[in-house]
């Protein structure tokens, strides 16, 4: 079964074409990295899948059901933003927010919801911080809590928009490694938008190169060639191979 099917998806706003003829078929259980330059329409692409934007033309299906008008359980980690430094929520409260769609309006969280929150705080290694105010956590810790929030309703499809922004290099590698591990552990289909074309090749199963449309969707070694990247990013691109300069990173990649 396809986890995601996009057919001739176009998105135009104020006569500006943001997406043009986007076609994609993604098998269940795949970790897809979506790369492309700034303004390539990556976030719009995600928002259409999430149902936040309606395509001007074309169709989107998630697990064979239309994305618009159907209640689909998708885990979503948006682009990192600055949170209000006074926001009165602990890590536990933030993860619990991910259960609200199952709890429903007017209802209070049940024991099963609290158990699930604890389970996912443990999975992301943040149980010890459950009572810490969310905004007091480091960038990497906040991302882990937000990943737990995106997973706590047990979705089969998870969408991550630039999850490593604002996090140091070692923490970025750790995060990718961690997402890959979760994908296997929880049998997830993961779509991750990233700028980090050098590093993600070691973690994702497939890569989609995007600039208004999807140029290539294939295995990383076939998608991230000099020719394709020049087409997507422009001619002035220098490929620098990601070597073993960062030992910690390399260990993560090797699963040590």
């Amino acid at each position: 079964m396809y986890a995601l099917e996009l057919e001739n998806v176009n998105y135009t706003i104020n006569n500006v074409e943001i997406l043009k003829d986007v076609n994609l078929k993604l098998n269940e259980g795949v970790f897809l990295g979506v790369v492309g330059p700034n303004g390539a329409g990556k976030t719009t692409f995600l928002k259409i899948i999430l149902g936040l934007l309606k395509p001007s033309r074309g169709s989107v299906k998630i697990f064979e059901a239309p994305a618009h008008g159907t209640k689909t359980n998708i885990g979503y980690l948006p682009q990192r933003k600055q949170f209000d430094i006074n926001f009165p929520a602990t890590a536990f409260d933030v993860v619990m927010m991910g259960r609200y769609k199952l709890i429903g309006l007017f209802n209070k969280p049940r024991q099963i919801d609290r158990d699930m929150v604890i389970r996912y705080l443990n999975i992301v290694g943040m149980f010890d911080f459950k009572d810490t105010q969310f905004v007091k956590l480091s960038g990497g810790q906040q991302q882990r809590v937000l990943i737990a929030r995106s997973l706590v309703s047990e979705p089969k499809l998870v969408i991550l928009d630039e999850p490593s922004t604002g996090i140091d290099v070692v923490a970025q590698e750790y995060l990718y490694h961690f997402i890959k591990h979760l994908k296997h552990e929880l049998s997830l289909t993961v779509i991750m938008v990233t700028h980090d074309i050098g590093t993600i090749t070691s973690y994702v199963d497939e890569v989609a190169c995007m600039n208004k449309t999807i140029y290539v969707h294939d295995k990383p070694e076939k998608s991230l060639t000099r020719d394709i990247l020049a087409k997507v990013y422009g001619e002035n691109i220098n490929m620098i191979e990601h070597n073993e300069f960062c030992m910690d990173c390399n260990n993560f990649r090797k699963g040590k």
């Binding site: 936040l52 948006p78 006074n86 929520a89 609200y100 209070k108 309703s153």
Partner: protein, 266 residues
């Protein structure tokens, strides 16, 4: 003393309400919309005076209309919410000024609506305030988890199927009702203070949501009771004394938090 008793009962109900709302106003950065709706309500009150209908009712209906219009225009148009508020609140006030001018009834009642007049609070006003207060509080308490979620991350709340637009409009309606409830006690021009200051005070004293709400309600009630007492004994406008008391409590909290932070950092 009957009027004082009425004022105290109405004031405590209002303070309870504004205490809860102010937390969401601060967390959602909606302070300007509170100011906007309260000033816009003047248009509704003036319409009531002009048409000879109950100004409280016309004020509530008009404020709800303006609140929804602010939300609609900023959502559908190409302008931001603060611009939309700026347009609606000034034009509603202007409409109020014209209607008052035409009706030739610029008297103490209008002054009372602008700056509060506790002598004008009747038993029936208390019943209206109590019923509306209970309804609004019940809505806020039962929907607090969703309102908090939207305040934290509106986009993810939308993706998760939380009826974000409906709740945003509902919050604006609640805001409009609260503004009009507070008209006689504190006045349209000053009610926004109670929608902002208690929440701002609570931010300095706690990092936990329920504690924050409790602090905001408590500081709001203390401001109202002390303000009413001061206004009674000094024979000055009740709205102004309530606001100044709330401001004094805010600065106490501000200095307390600054001193505590300094001590902790040493």
């Amino acid at each position: 003393m009957d009027f004082m008793q009425n004022a105290l009962i109405a004031g405590i109900i209002l303070s309870f309400l504004t205490g809860i709302i102010s937390i969401f106003i601060i967390l959602r950065k909606l302070a300007f919309i509170g100011v906007g709706i309260s000033h816009a309500a003047f248009g509704g009150v003036a319409l009531g005076i002009y048409l000879g209908i109950n100004p409280t009712l016309s004020g509530i209906v008009f404020s709800i209309f303006v609140a929804l219009a602010i939300g609609y225009v900023s959502k559908r148009g190409r302008i931001k919410e603060d611009t939309s508020i700026g347009i609606f609140f000034t034009s509603a006030m202007a409409l109020g000024v014209i209607l008052i001018g035409i009706s030739r009834q610029y008297n103490v009642d209008v002054f009372g609506y602008l700056f509060g007049n506790i002598l004008a609070i009747s038993r029936s006003d208390i019943y209206i305030i109590a019923i509306l207060g209970i309804i609004v509080t019940a809505i806020l308490i039962t929907l607090s988890k969703e309102l908090l979620f939207i305040s934290f991350d509106e986009e993810v709340a939308k993706v998760d199927g939380i009826p974000v637009n409906f709740l945003n409009y509902l919050f604006l309606v609640i805001l409009a009702i609260t503004v009009v409830i507070g008209t006689k006690i504190i006045g349209l021009t000053l009610i926004s203070a109670l929608l902002i200051i208690p929440g701002a005070t609570a931010i300095f004293l706690s990092a936990k949501f329920f504690k924050m709400v409790t602090i905001a309600i408590t500081s709001s009630i203390i401001s109202t009771i002390c303000g009413l007492m001061i206004s009674y004994y000094l024979n000055v406008a009740s709205g102004a004394t309530i606001v100044l008391t709330a401001t004094a409590i805010f600065f106490l909290a501000f200095f307390y938090a600054s001193i505590t932070e300094k001590i902790q950092s040493h």
